[in-house]
Subunit: 395 residues, 2 copies
């Protein structure tokens, strides 16, 4: 079946995918007087007197802006925010269908970091949270950091942390099934953009050892002293591939491409490009290796090839193979929980709790089922529930 | 009945008034693959190649941002954009209920003219139109003018033009019922903010003579040479109260307050403060005078007092008296028509066509029914239909 043409027809027939609806009835004069003037003046006055009443009398506490600058849309690259609108509308309806969250797409006519920050801050009063989407690295790191610091509502870059959470969830089950500990697992991350960086950081926060990581970008491995590293990669070079800290010429310092450094790795995590992991490379990994090949739309290696080459567990981003890493397992329940609990900052602890909730949602994970189905709407409920324990005491 | 407490309860029970919903089903893998990845990549690609496809594959063509800076919310004044959110949500649901338009509230955390303009431009790609709301004068004039010039989508400040259109509609019928012509009618406008300016301009565009207007602000009448006039009022002083152009000391130059200049006026239009028009003043107006007393929440004069003092026709902003001037008669149908016709700029001709459509919607207007009921949802259809003739030829 041709998903592309079918999807085009679906979008044209419905003129997009979302609509705005009234939650209250407007049939008679009384309805109009309560929902609008003169009655509406009273909630306005209350909020003016007590700003936190905004959460009581408006939809703010259930609303999220899905904000993009269109600089890294799906695997399509920098196609601009307008062309990204179908993705943002899709994201918005997934928020509602899975998490009961009212999300609205905001496509920005700018790709300037400061202008993005300024605009999101300017429109923030009506929203309960900000979901950043498809903003390219390294700009996305600064945008997210600043908005977290400067806004009083939760801000979450899904391409980073949504992906990282679901990878951690899958890896919790995959390591269990192959008898590994995070602290001893050797991990190769291929692709050091938004997702690669966030995955590495979250796995380290969960207990994976930084010195057991080797990160590769399109040039080769990341190591202390390599040229062409941005600030984020410099920081990662300080803690990973640690033999290089002794000197770039140390024989244990891993330099070169994926083929040169994959030997003995327990886990491969690909957030890069189709076809970059060969069966030969899988063959050089440790016993019962784990492969997360999440390039879109085609993985770094096809699951059947990886399994034939010796992989014990294979996950991809695709719905037509087992073990789909799909952010919809995380973001709807995460925002549901964060909004319900009145949480202002989504900490590493919360992300880990979400990953654990997704992992343990499966009573008996199997090698071809390390993650729940993305269509199982009860996952979001389990995720939201796991977040409630982080509710601030003052509320 | 206490509208204020009832309204508060309604807002609290529903946590606001609007929600975002999916127009497509998400039940199985196929649904997910069409509404989101991988299928969604295709509409993105098409839009990237041909930007006008945005109107074909997304909700842009049916969506309007209801934008406020909260500087002039209802009669509450400058309470800030957050406290204005209940009004913006109310506006948004009226857009949907009456016009089938998906409107979303955008509350701005700034009241700086340039920052408002920059922010609206930055978020415009996803919207098919911009409805400016409750932005104070004179800032609103510059904001609207610049956005009309700099954006390629319709921009409409409802407090100005929505009010002006409905006043014109009511006045068309009121003049007919009292046997007057626009060109000969003497009009006093009390209140020279956003609404007063727009009403004056639209009535002049329709055929009322500028020299037959006297405008009053809180200081007194507007005339050439008066101090404390902003640029907009300076412009109006050049064409109204024209005896003053001969010199401020000309005895026919109308100076002073409402009581000093109301003699012989055919029409009083109040967009000012409660109680400013006394029965004595009505008594000094021409025979069968027409009073539009639209101050909120209490009119410049109560209808029973005005009628007793000799007024032939009285209109207010209130739903509990006949002849309610309610913008909901205009904006939903206006945007419905403008979006359907692919119109980029809402011209004076379009505003006049809308006013005529509202006026002639009543087959037999009466002195206590110069305007249709704000609850009659067929008015919006008539308005939208009247706009179709302005459809650009190139479409």
């Amino acid at each position: 079946m041709d998903y592309y043409l079918e999807s085009l027809r679906l979008h044209e027939k419905n003129r997009g995918k979302l609509e705005v609806k009234s939650k209250v009835r407007i049939k008679n004069r009384r309805d109009l007087s309560l929902a609008y003037t003169p009655g509406v003046a009273e909630p306005c006055r209350r909020i003016h007197k007590n700003p936190s009443d905004l959460y009581k009398y408006t939809n703010k506490g259930n609303s999220v802006a899905v904000v993009t600058d269109g600089s890294a849309v799906l695997g399509l690259g920098n196609i601009g925010a307008a062309a990204g609108l179908p993705v943002m509308e899709g994201k918005a309806i997934l928020f509602k269908e899975f998490g009961g969250v009212d999300a609205y797409p905001i496509c920005l006519d700018t790709q300037d970091t400061e202008e993005i920050i300024r605009t999101v801050k300017a429109i923030a009063p009506g929203f309960g949270g900000i979901n950043l989407e498809d903003i390219s690295a390294p700009r996305c790191f600064e945008v997210e950091k600043r908005l977290i610091e400067e806004l009083g509502i939760p801000v979450f870059h899904d391409d980073q942390h949504g992906t990282a959470i679901v990878v951690l969830a899958g890896l919790i089950n995959a390591l269990k099934l192959t008898g590994r500990q995070f602290s001893e697992t050797k991990i190769v991350v291929n692709g050091v953009g938004a997702a690669g960086v966030a995955i590495s950081k979250l796995l380290m926060a969960y207990g994976a050892k930084a010195e057991n990581f080797i990160l590769c970008d399109s040039v080769g491995t990341i190591f202390k002293g390599r040229t062409g590293l941005n600030a984020i990669k410099e920081g990662l070079a300080d803690i990973t591939n640690t033999a290089c800290l002794l000197g770039m010429d140390d024989p244990r310092c891993k330099k070169g491409g994926l083929g040169d450094i994959i030997d003995g790795a327990d886990v491969f995590i690909g957030v890069s490009k189709p076809g970059l992991l060969t069966p030969e490379m899988v063959g050089k990994m440790a016993k019962d290796p784990i492969v997360f090949a999440m390039a879109n739309p085609e993985p770094e290696i096809w699951p059947d090839l990886a399994l034939k080459a010796g992989a014990k567990i294979v996950a991809t981003g695709r719905s037509d193979f087992p073990n789909q890493v799909n952010n919809v397992l995380a973001f709807p329940g995460l925002f549901r929980g964060v909004l319900d609990a009145g949480i202002r900052t989504i900490t590493e602890e919360i992300k880990i709790a979400v990953a654990e909730a997704i992992a343990t949602y499966l009573k008996k994970p199997k090698i071809d089922q390390i993650l729940p189905s993305p269509l199982d709407k009860k996952v979001a409920k389990a995720v939201a529930k796991a977040i409630l324990k982080f509710k601030p005491k003052s509320l």
